[in-house]
């Protein structure tokens, strides 16, 4: 499903060169749940953005679902992302002045679906994430847990095969983190591939996790 082959990524500024990732290779099968752990700055987020096609590796190949995403041109990678990948950001990155419904519909806008189909999909994921009762509330009026659920709903609305989550529980208390993990478990059961970057120890002993990858300064330790 996801293959990284000898991937390096470096950021160059005039003054210096920063190696964010050094010679990373990994293989994730469809339906697996992978945890990327490590301190901040260790390269977890960079791996996620490479898989999502948001940035390109300096050397090496990234293949997702049979497509060499590292070589895809911009409009195709956006299309690929839209069809295959759902993203849950660390700080949710909801648009505060839009309603819950509108935020969830954002990934569907470029698809230009009919109003009914769009409505149906949004209703479904709102139901799934138990946020239907707040559908017309503005996102800035929501609590942290509700925002988290909106973010998950938004990641699921385009029915992706892969969910990428970046520090999903960093801003949540223990109870909410527990709920999040349950949602992830449900997703895994339905066959979605999960990639979670976190340093939250709650994730480390989970039974449904298939791989744990530890990173330090851009190098894989395990």
């Amino acid at each position: 499903m996801i293959v990284l082959k000898n991937v390096c990524k470096c950021y160059e500024t005039e003054a210096q060169r920063i190696d964010a990732l050094r010679d990373i290779s990994l293989h994730v099968k469809a339906g697996e749940c992978v945890i990327l752990k490590g301190a901040s700055g260790s390269g977890k987020s960079t791996i996620l953005s490479l898989i999502a096609g948001l940035s390109k590796p300096t050397t090496g190949d990234v293949v997702v679902d049979g497509k060499r995403i590292s070589k895809l041109m911009e409009p195709f990678s956006a299309h690929f992302r839209r069809e295959n990948i759902g993203v849950i950001f660390q700080r949710y990155h909801l648009i505060a002045t839009l309603s819950v419904r509108d935020n969830i519909a954002l990934p569907l806008i470029p698809e230009n679906l009919s109003a009914q189909v769009m409505e149906k999909r949004v209703e479904e994921v709102m139901e799934l994430c138990a946020i239907s009762h707040k559908s017309s509330a503005l996102c800035r009026h929501l609590s942290g847990g509700e925002q988290q659920r909106v973010a998950i709903a938004r990641a699921l609305v385009n029915e992706p095969k892969i969910i990428i989550a970046d520090e999903p529980t960093a801003n949540l208390d223990a109870v909410l983190s527990e709920q999040f993990i349950e949602t992830m478990y449900d997703l895994k059961k339905s066959g979605v591939t999960l990639l979670i970057a976190t340093h939250d120890s709650q994730f480390f002993n989970l039974l449904f996790v298939d791989q744990q990858i530890e990173l330090k300064n851009g190098v894989m330790l395990s």
Partner: protein, 393 residues
Amino acid sequence: MKFNLYLLEFALFSLIRKGAKTLFVFLILTFLIFLLASVLFISDAIKHELNVSVAHLPELTLQRLQAGKQVNVPLKRVEPLLEIEGVASVIPRVWGYYYFKVAGVNFSVVGIDAFEQSYKESLQKVVDAYDVKALEKESGMIVGAGVKKILEENYYQDFFNFVTADGKWKRMHIMGSFNADISLQANDMILLPKKSAYEIFGMPENEATDVVVKVSNPEEIPTIVSKINQLYPDMRVVTKEDIRVSYQNIFDYKSGFFLSLFVVSAFTFFMIIYDKLSGLSSEEKREIGILKALGWSMDDILKERFYESFILCFGAFLLALALSMAYVFFWEAPLLRSLFVGYSTLKPSFELPFYFNMPMIVLLFLLSVPVYIGSVMIPSWRAAMLDADEVLR
């Protein structure tokens, strides 16, 4: 490809989301376009009016200069002028100003021969409710609308007492006034029989103020001018072209004067816009990043930005156009009017003819809408080009 209404909706929401900034940009844009459109409407209308007038002027006006000042032309010069080849007609004119002290205004007084049949017929067409024959009695006059108004304010309902050069009173009856259609030309005019004009001005009857020459073939004008200069070295020849050029100069000067003000304000505006957008705020960059991560292509993001800026500046453009037409043609352009009118003592009402200059509107559109859209799109395009991985950390 089907039009994506959701993108348009999103653009609209994001305009509403930016509230005060949107309103500010909208108002400034509207104001600038409104100002420019108004000035263009006024100057185009006046130019149009002038072109109509100039087209019907006699080809040459001859003035006699003595010691650098204009003096009267002896009538005996008319015959030799007529003999020049190519000259169709030579008409000695009597005209001048009459200062009406009570109101502090100058009237333009023109004497004409009202006895010719052709004159009568054509005069009748530009005068309201009046029998031209009365001019033959030597005590009738036709006045412009502005003159009539001022005389009425000073209790001259149907006659006016000119004070002649000798200090005597010369009573002239107001026989009619010029049609409102020609008020821009005739507002301060008084037309009366030549004989009365001589009397009022105290001019000897064997002289004229100046001489107009009509030429049948415009291509012969330079030859005729040089012949006249040879024949009468003391005469200055003013051609129709000279007058047209001097109008052009005055309008270039006045529009330029305004344009320099406009350019300064427009530049300030665009610098503010550019400055604001060239360094897109981190908020906006983040938003672009989020949208990319959610699967929006660069195309979608740029389209959305295009809708956003197009709604804003096309709305401003339409509104400004509507306002400026109303301002110039219904409200007669208060404030801006004084820039174009000068200091004439007898100002006519500023009822300009409506003249729609399509290239001018297109130019206005090109100067405002694409420039603004560009100033929004270019920085957004640059931001959308960058890797969007910053949102993932």
